[in-house]
C-alpha cells in the first residue's frame, strides 16, 4: 500500500478551520477558557515584567541598564549570598532526598513494624511552617537550647553552632523531607512485582537487583524530588531569617534590600538571581519528565514486600530516628510555648499565649490567617478545578488549552519572594508606564492592593501548580466519553460537569482545598511584602516576634498555626471517611 498524502491543505495549527457550527455552548466554553487564561496571565506572567524591568532602574527611577547587576556581581558581600544559597540548596537537597528515599523504601519495600505510624509521622512536617522548624531548632540547639546546655546541665554540653549554614541546612531538610517523601513513596509504590520475580529467577543478588531494577524504576521520581528540594531550600526565606545568623542567602538579602533599605531596584536585581536558577531547574525537570514513559502497565502486579528481619529492624531504627527528630522539634516548640521563662523557670502555663504585650498582631493576626486561608481554599479550589476541567475536557481550542496548561504549571518555577515582590510592583502602581514610550495607562487592578484580595490571589497563584496537577490527574481518570454521551443526549456540558464530574472528583477537590488551606496558613515568603499593616498575619507575626526577641511568643504562635493545620487535616479525614461510607455504593465495591 502506498502512502497517500492528503489532497487537502494541512490545517493551520493555531486557528484550525472549524467545520462544525459553533454553538452557544461552545461559546460559553471558549469564553470561560479565555477568562481562565487571562486571569493566569494577570496572576502569573504580567507581574514579572515590572519586577524584572525594575532591576534596570536606580531607586529614583532612572534607567541605568545593567548597572545594578554589575554592582551586585562586584560587591563580594552580595555575590557571596548567591553561592551561599546554592550551597544550602545543594546540601539540603542531597540530605533530604537521601533520607526520604530510605524512609520511603522502608515504608514500601520492607516489612518494618509500625509502617502506618511512620507514614503519618513522616508527613507531619508538612503542617509545620519552616519558620516554626527554625524556632524549634533554636530551643534545641540555640544558645540556651536543650542540647546546647546538655539538657539544662544533666548531660555534657554540645554546641553544634546552629546559627549559620548548619542551622539553615537542618531546617531546610526538615522542610524538604516530607515533600521528597511524598514523591518517593509514589515512585516506589508504582512498580511491578514481576520484575523482581524475574530478577530473582535470573539469580540476581539483592544489591544488583537494587541497582538494576529498583533505582531505574524510580529514576524520574528521584530526579523530580531532587529538583523540588533544591528549589525549596534555595528559595526559602523563613529558616535563614531565623537561624541564619550572619550567613547571607539570596532570600534574606531580598528582604533586607526591600524592607530594611527600601531599595526596591536592588531587591528586584537579587530576585532575578533567585528566579533564574529556579526557572532553569523547572525547565530541565520538565524536559526530563517528558521522556518518562509508563513503566508500569495496567496489568502490573503490586509488590508484596517480603519479611527480612535484619533489614526490617535496621530500617525501623532509621525511621525511628528520623521521625523521632521531627517529633522532638514539634514537641519542643509546644513545650517552649508553655514554659514561663526558658530556661530558668520551667513551670507551665499559657502566659506566652497572651500576645497583648508583644508585637505582631496577636490573635488578630491568627484570625486573619485563618480567614485568608479559608478564602484561599475556596477561591483556589474553584479556580483550579474549573481551569483543569476546561483544559482537560474542553472541545477544540487546542492552542488555548495548551497555553492555559503551560501557565498553570509555571507558578511552580516562581519563588514566593519573587512572586510577592512582583505583585508589589504590578499592583501597587496606579498607572503603568509602557516601557520606552511616554504612554501610561490606568491600572485596573490597583484597587485590590493592600486588601485581603491580593493576599488570596497571591496564595492561589503561588500554590496553583500542585493543585492543578492533582485536579488534572483526577480528571484524566474520568471516562472521556462522558462528554460525548451527554452531547448525544443533548445535555449541556455544564450540567454533566455538575452532576457527574464534580461528584466523581470530590476526593481530589477536597484534597486541593486542604492543600490550599494548610499552605496559606504556613506560608510567609509570598505575602511578607504584601500584607498591609491593617491585616497582620500569623506567619508574619512569628517573624516579627522572633526579630523582636520574643521567641516564646513566636513559639506560641507557631503552635497555634501547627495545631490549626493538623486540626483541619483531621477534620478533612473524618469528613472524607463519612463521605466514603455514604457513597460507598458507587465509589468502591
Amino acid at each position: 500500500m502506498t502512502v497517500t498524502t492528503p489532497k487537502f491543505p494541512t490545517p493551520n495549527p493555531l486557528f484550525p478551520k472549524r467545520q462544525q457550527v459553533v454553538t452557544r455552548e461552545d461559546w460559553l466554553m471558549r469564553i470561560l477558557l479565555g477568562l481562565g487564561t487571562l486571569w493566569l496571565l494577570v496572576g502569573v506572567v504580567l507581574p514579572l515584567f515590572p519586577m524584572i524591568g525594575r532591576s534596570f532602574f536606580d531607586p529614583n527611577g532612572n534607567w541605568i541598564g545593567l548597572a545594578n547587576y554589575v554592582k551586585y556581581l562586584t560587591t563580594p558581600s552580595l555575590v557571596s549570598a548567591f553561592f551561599n544559597s546554592f550551597f544550602i540548596g545543594a546540601m539540603s537537597m542531597m540530605i533530604a532526598v537521601g533520607l526520604a528515599f530510605l524512609y520511603a523504601y522502608a515504608l514500601t519495600r520492607t516489612q518494618m513494624p509500625g509502617k502506618l505510624a511512620f507514614r503519618v509521622l513522616g508527613m507531619l512536617p508538612l503542617y509545620i511552617p519552616p519558620l516554626a522548624h527554625a524556632i524549634g531548632l533554636i530551643y534545641l540547639f540555640g544558645n540556651k537550647g536543650l542540647v546546647t546546655t546538655g539538657f539544662l546541665g544533666v548531660f555534657p554540653k554540645w554546641d553544634i553552632g546552629l546559627y549559620g549554614p548548619v542551622g539553615i541546612i537542618i531546617g531546610e531538610v526538615l522542610y524538604c523531607f516530607p515533600q521528597a517523601l511524598v514523591i518517593m513513596i509514589t515512585a516506589l509504590s508504582l512498580t511491578d512485582a514481576r520484575l523482581y520475580e524475574a530478577a530473582e529467577v535470573l539469580g540476581s543478588t539483592p544489591l544488583k537487583t537494587f541497582f538494576t531494577v529498583t533505582l531505574p524504576s524510580v529514576k524520574y521520581g528521584l530526579i523530580s524530588a531532587l529538583f523540588v528540594c533544591f528549589t525549596l531550600a534555595f528559595t526559602d526565606f523563613g529558616v535563614p531569617k531565623v537561624v541564619g545568623g550572619n550567613f547571607n542567602v539570596l532570600a534574606t538579602d531580598i528582604y533586607k534590600q526591600v524592607i530594611g533599605q527600601q531599595n526596591f531596584s536592588m531587591g528586584a536585581t537579587v530576585s532575578v538571581f533567585l528566579l533564574v536558577p529556579t526557572v532553569i531547574a523547572f525547565v530541565v525537570d520538565r524536559i526530563i519528565q517528558r521522556r518518562q514513559t509508563a513503566l508500569v502497565s495496567a496489568k502490573a502486579v503490586p509488590l508484596q514486600p517480603k519479611s527480612h528481619p535484619p533489614l526490617d529492624w535496621l530500617m525501623f531504627g532509621f525511621c525511628a530516628l528520623v521521625a523521632g527528630f521531627t517529633i522532638a522539634v514539634l514537641l519542643v516548640i509546644i513545650f517552649a510555648s508553655l514554659v514561663k521563662v526558658w530556661p530558668y523557670d520551667l513551670t507551665l502555663g499559657f502566659k506566652n499565649y497572651d500576645f497583648s504585650t508583644v508585637g505582631g498582631g496577636g490573635y488578630r493576626a491568627f484570625w486573619n490567617s485563618i480567614r485568608m486561608s479559608f478564602y484561599t481554599a475556596i477561591v483556589g479550589t474553584v479556580a483550579v478545578f474549573m481551569g483543569a476541567y476546561l483544559v482537560e475536557k474542553g472541545r477544540g481550542m487546542k492552542w488555548l488549552r495548551s497555553a492555559n496548561y503551560f501557565l498553570s504549571t509555571l507558578p511552580l518555577a516562581l519563588p514566593g519572594l519573587v512572586l510577592g515582590l512582583s505583585y508589589v510592583f504590578f499592583f501597587n502602581n496606579k498607572i503603568w508606564w509602557i516601557p520606552f514610550t511616554k504612554i501610561a495607562i490606568y491600572n485596573p487592578f490597583n484597587g485590590i492592593y493592600g486588601t485581603m484580595a491580593i493576599l488570596v490571589l497571591c496564595n492561589v497563584i503561588h500554590f496553583y501548580t500542585v493543585c492543578f496537577l492533582t485536579a488534572n490527574t483526577a480528571l484524566k481518570q474520568i471516562d472521556p466519553e462522558f462528554e460525548a454521551v451527554s452531547a448525544s443526549m443533548r445535555v449541556p456540558f455544564y450540567k454533566t460537569f455538575w452532576r457527574v464530574t464534580v461528584p466523581l472528583s470530590l476526593p481530589a477537590i477536597l484534597e486541593i482545598g486542604i492543600y490550599y488551606f494548610v499552605n496559606a496558613m504556613i506560608t510567609i515568603s509570598a505575602i511578607v511584602f504584601l500584607y498591609p499593616p491593617s491585616l497582620p498575619l500569623a506567619a508574619v507575626a512569628i517573624v516579627n516576634m522572633d526579630d523582636a526577641g520574643d521567641i516564646a511568643a513566636a513559639a506560641a504562635m507557631s503552635t497555634l498555626v501547627v495545631l490549626t493545620s493538623i486540626g483541619v487535616r483531621i477534620l478533612y479525614w473524618l469528613f472524607t471517611r463519612g463521605l466514603q461510607q455514604r457513597s460507598q455504593a458507587w465509589l468502591q465495591r
Binding site: M1, T4, R18, Q19, A484, S488, M489, R490, A585
Partner: protein, 394 residues
C-alpha cells in the same frame, strides 16, 4: 465459520438485496424498482490526523431500519467513521446526510443519535434509573412520563427491578444493557454502537448479540455498529461494511460478502480462505504448479498471474473410487498436520508439485475416521469449479 450456521436473513422490502456495487449506484433505480431513500448517507468522507490519512473517500448508504456493521482490523478507521457520523470527530471533507438533512456541520448535540461505547461510559455515581433518565430530565419531560419511559426501557433491555443499582453493582452484561437503554431513551433516529460487546466474556457476548439484534428489529431503529469480530458481524448485520486501512473494501449482505469476497483481503478477513498461486492459461483455466484447474469464475486475462481461492468447507475429499469418476480439479495432497477442533479436524496439507501453498480443509471426526487420516496420508481433494474464485495476483 460456516455460513449455513448463520440464520438466513429475511430480506424484507426495507433491506433490499444488495450487490457489491450498491454504494455507487445508490441513487439510481435497480431492477426497475424505486429504491427507498437511505436514512443515512455518507458522501466522500475523508479524514486525516495531521499527515496520517485515517479515512479515504468513504461512500455509504444506510437504509431505514437497517443494521449495518463496520468491520475491519484494528486501526482501519471504524471508530473514526462512527465518530464522524455522530459529530464527535470532524471530517476533513465530505458530507453526512441523516434523515434527508445535511448534518455535516452540526455538533453532536444537534444531531439525532444514541450511542453506546465499548467502555459503556455509564455515570458511576448515578443509578441505572438515573442514568437512563439523564437525557429525559434534561429535556424537561414531566416526572410521570420520565418514570414510565424509564421503566419501559429497562423492561425492553430486560432489567426490570434493577433500576436502583449503581453500575459498580452490576455485571458487565447488565451495564451494557443500561447503556443501551440510555442510548434509546430519547428515541433517536439512529443508534450507534462502538464495539459494544468486546468487553464481555464469550458466553454473555453471544447471548447479548442475539438480544441486541432482535431488539433492533423489534424497534426498527437504523443502527450502525462497529466491530472487529467477523462472527459478530455475520450474525447480527443486515449488511457488512468491510474496511481496510481507511477505505471500504466491500459492502454487502453477510452471505454475499462471505461467498463472493471482492478481493483477497476480504476473503481472508472473513472466514478462512485457501489461496494457490497460478497463471491463467485459458479464459476458464488456471495452471497451479503442474495442474490445470477449471475456473469458470475467472475474469482475468490469459497469461496473467493470479491467486485462486477456495473455502475449506467447499473442498471435497474423494475416496479412491470417487476419484476415478472425477477427471478434473482433483489435487492430490499430503497431510501435514491435523488440528482437533471439537466438531472435527482442521487438516493442513501440501498439494503435490506445489511446495509453496498449503491447503486447509474442514473434516468431520466421522469423515477423517473413515479415511483413517494421519500426518503423511495422501488425500485426493476435489475443488468444485463453481466454488473456485480467481483474484489478480498482487
Amino acid at each position: 465459520m460456516n455460513p449455513s450456521e448463520q440464520p438466513a436473513l429475511a430480506v424484507t422490502s426495507l433491506q433490499p438485496a444488495t450487490t457489491p456495487s450498491r454504494q455507487t449506484s445508490a441513487y439510481g433505480v435497480v431492477d426497475g424498482l424505486a429504491e427507498p431513500e437511505p436514512y443515512l448517507r455518507i458522501e466522500d468522507i475523508n479524514k486525516s490526523f495531521g499527515n496520517f490519512v485515517a479515512l479515504k473517500n468513504i461512500f455509504l448508504n444506510v437504509y431505514p431500519g437497517e443494521f449495518v456493521c463496520l468491520l475491519g482490523p484494528s486501526g482501519c478507521g471504524k471508530t473514526t467513521l462512527l465518530r464522524i457520523i455522530a459529530g464527535l470527530e470532524e471530517q476533513t471533507s465530505g458530507r453526512v446526510i441523516q434523515g434527508g438533512k445535511n448534518v455535516s456541520n452540526l455538533p453532536p448535540a444537534q444531531r439525532d443519535f444514541g450511542i453506546v461505547f465499548q467502555s459503556y461510559a455509564l455515570f458511576p455515581n448515578l443509578t441505572a434509573t438515573q442514568n437512563v433518565a439523564y437525557g429525559l430530565q434534561n429535556a424537561k419531560r414531566p416526572r410521570a412520563e420520565i418514570d414510565r419511559r424509564v421503566a419501559e426501557l429497562l423492561e425492553t433491555v430486560g432489567l426490570t427491578g434493577m433500576g436502583q443499582k449503581y453500575p459498580s453493582q452490576m455485571s458487565g452484561g447488565q451495564q451494557q444493557r443500561v447503556a443501551l437503554a440510555r442510548a434509546l431513551a430519547l428515541s433517536p433516529g439512529l443508534l450507534l454502537l462502538d464495539e459494544p460487546l468486546s468487553a464481555l466474556d464469550a458466553q454473555v457476548r453471544v447471548k447479548l448479540r442475539t438480544e441486541i439484534a432482535s431488539l433492533q428489529k423489534r424497534l426498527g431503529i437504523t443502527t450502525v455498529m462497529v466491530t472487529h469480530d467477523q462472527a459478530e458481524a455475520l450474525a447480527m448485520a443486515d449488511r457488512i461494511v468491510v474496511m481496510d486501512k481507511g477505505y471500504i473494501a466491500q459492502v454487502g449482505a453477510p452471505r454475499a460478502v462471505y461467498q463472493h469476497p471482492r478481493n483477497p483481503f476480504v476473503a481472508n478477513f472473513i472466514g478462512v480462505m485457501n489461496f494457490l498461486q497460478g497463471v491463467v492459461v485459458a479464459p476458464d483455466q488456471v495452471r497451479c504448479g503442474n495442474l490445470v484447474l477449471l475456473t469458470p469464475n475467472n475474469q482475468a486475462a490469459v497469461n496473467q498471474p493470479v491467486r485462486i481461492a477456495i473455502r475449506p468447507e467447499d473442498i471435497r475429499v474423494l475416496s479412491v473410487a470417487e476419484a476415478q469418476t472425477h477427471s478434473q480439479n482433483v489435487i492430490s495432497a499430503e497431510v501435514q498436520s491435523m488440528e482437533y477442533m471439537g466438531t472435527g479436524y482442521l487438516v493442513t496439507c501440501a498439494p503435490d508439485g506445489n511446495a509453496k501453498d498449503q491447503i486447509t480443509i474442514d473434516l468431520s471426526t466421522f469423515e477423517s475416521g473413515a479415511l483413517g487420516l494421519e500426518p503423511g496420508s495422501t488425500l485426493r481433494l476435489y475443488l468444485p469449479p463453481d466454488q473456485v474464485q480467481v483474484f489478480a495476483a498482487e
